[in-house]
């Protein structure tokens, strides 16, 4: 069997504005792909086309070998999706909602009953199974949404910013579910702008901006390519203008700025060797370095540099 998700030259125009621009991307079987990009990059538009919520202006999105633009019913047969934060029919309970969607998907009564129990347990909603969804919190709805995406044991799961709008506890709970999903034989396509989330749970990553693919590959490969780091330094002495001036002249130092009386940050181009050398150079200036660390995530550094370049 071929790759479960193949997006080829996908384009979407909205009244003269191109939201997705000739996007091509392949997602390999069993991978957990983080689809990264800033707000307005075209992530949700791409996902909406993949889930038959929007029509493409050009190109194709093939799911399990079937073009979703041409044959949405067949293409979505083995796909589970959570797009934006869906609303539920308020007069139905989670059990009834899952029964409704299960029946649409042709599941037997026994299958629906068994899987409903399993997926609601997975998302910790068992005790709410017979309560009407109308008054559920956003976090609870999101958990039911993930449950329905898993209900029919799909081969592909598509998630659109699944932790968006949730409180910290809700985000933690959804991330736990994502972590667990990643251990199973699903192919997962998840959009996000939360880099820590992607770095934590994803095996692969695709970066887009302005509807165009900037980079894709395994997280490991991309981290390897991440050459710009943000370094945060705390010293024993106070930082004077003279000292900062000297530091700014050091080779490899960019975007230097004081971040406190005895702290400063800068960007460094290079890998571990260059980072170690820089520490020595700072000490050679007479700085008593108390801490010297990378600020933020390596993926964030790569992301920021690619986004910057693509502007």
């Amino acid at each position: 069997m071929g790759d479960p998700i193949v997006i080829d030259r996908l384009t979407k125009d909205f009244d003269g504005f191109r939201a997705v621009d000739d996007l091509s991307l392949t997602v390999r079987q069993g991978s957990f792909l983080g689809f990264l990009g800033p707000n307005g990059a075209g992530k949700t538009t791409t996902i909406k086309i993949m889930t038959n919520l929007l029509a493409a202006s050009g190109g194709s999105a093939v799911l399990n070998g079937i073009d979703v633009v041409q044959h949405p019913k067949e293409a979505l047969a083995q796909v589970g999706a959570v797009v934006e934060t869906p609303e539920f029919y308020p007069y139905l309970t989670p059990n009834e909602t899952l029964a409704y969607l299960g029946e649409i998907r042709g599941m037997t009564r026994e299958d629906i009953s068994r899987r409903t129990k399993e997926v609601l347990e997975t998302v910790k909603m068992t005790e709410w199974a017979d309560k009407r969804i109308g008054k559920f919190s956003k976090g609870m709805k999101q958990r039911v949404a993930i449950a329905q995406a898993m209900l029919h044991e799909p081969s592909v799961i598509i998630l659109d910013e699944p932790t968006s709008g949730l409180d910290p506890r809700g985000m933690y709970e959804v991330r736990e579910i994502l972590n667990e999903l990643s251990k199973h034989d699903y192919t997962i396509f998840m959009s996000s702008h939360l880099l820590n989330e992607v770095q934590e749970v994803c095996s692969d990553v695709a970066l887009i901006n302005r509807g165009r693919l900037l980079r894709s590959g395994s997280v490991e490969e991309l981290l390897e390519q991440a050459s710009v780091k943000r370094i945060e330094v705390r010293t024993k002495q106070q930082m004077s203008g003279e000292l900062l001036n000297s530091i700014s002249k050091l080779e490899g130092v960019q975007e230097l700025r004081a971040s406190g009386e005895n702290q400063f940050m800068f960007s460094l181009t290079g890998k571990d060797e260059e980072q170690a050398q820089m520490l020595l150079r700072l000490q050679s200036l007479g700085l008593n370095v108390v801490s010297y660390k990378e600020s933020g995530l390596a993926l964030e550094s790569l992301y920021m540099s690619l986004i910057k370049d693509s502007r």
Binding site: F14, K48, T51, N52, L53, L54, A55, P72, K73, E74, A75, L76, A77, Q78, V79, A81, V83, E84, T85, P86, E87, F88, Y89, Y91, L92, E96, T97, Y100, L101, E103, I104, R105, G106, M107, R115, E118, E121, T122, V123, K124, A145, Q148, M150, H152, E153, P154, S155, I158, R169, Y172, E173, E176, I177, N179, E180, L181, K183, H184, D185, Y186
Partner: protein
Amino acid sequence: MMMAEVSVNSTPREARALPSDLKQVGVVAKYDVMKYLRSRRLLGMLIIEAIVLIAITVLLATSSNPKTADGVVGQYAGFATILIVIGATLFGGDAIVSEYQGRTGYLLFPNPIKKVSIIIGKFISAVAAMVLILVIYYAIALVAGLVMGNGFSTLGLASLGLAILYGISALAVAFLISSFMKGTAGSLILTFALFFFVLDIISSIMGQLGGIKPWFLLNFAGSSLSYVTTDPFPVDSVETLDIGGGQSFTFYSFYPDIGLSIAVMVAYAVVALVLAYLIFRRREMSA
């Protein structure tokens, strides 16, 4: 901290066969009926119906005029159009737009189901609710005809048939409005206003003042459900009134032809529903 461990108890397995489009229509219809039952729209409709029935029955029972079974049912039939207008608004006015405004489309549309199955399923459930309301209404009207008019009104049955047809065509128009409107409230108001007075005003202007028989307007065709109980069936008439100064005013009275009205209602139902589907099919979840 909670959620120390979660478990996904299953792994993907072989693809199962999807149900036919027709079977999915049934699934959508079944759960949409549940909506009417639980959202209290059906209950509200039944309460309105009960109020109308009680009011007409009390008026007829206290009237000393001689009554026939057809005449009694005809009195009830005169108010059936109001029930149909309210029913079309409640059961069809927001059938499609609510999936967009309420964002439930994000849940339903990414499933392997064609939009034609969704719209037909919703339409069938709306028609079922409308038919239920009308059958209850006419059953009581026919019983009232039996008791107060001392006979069974066969014309009442014809009226029921026309009422169901008018209800179906009004629902189709409501679905059409719901397919292009952006907001639920606007869609409900437009549906109600259209049937409650906009079409009436147009047909009055055309018919009574312009002398044009508005046979092609849905409300005019729908009014046949009331006239069908009158025996003999009324015929079109023109009356000229001298208003002095050498001037006169002409009044036109037009009555729907039953056969033509059936054709008009069928045409409205088919055309409106097809248009609603075409708009729904192209409509995107872009917000």
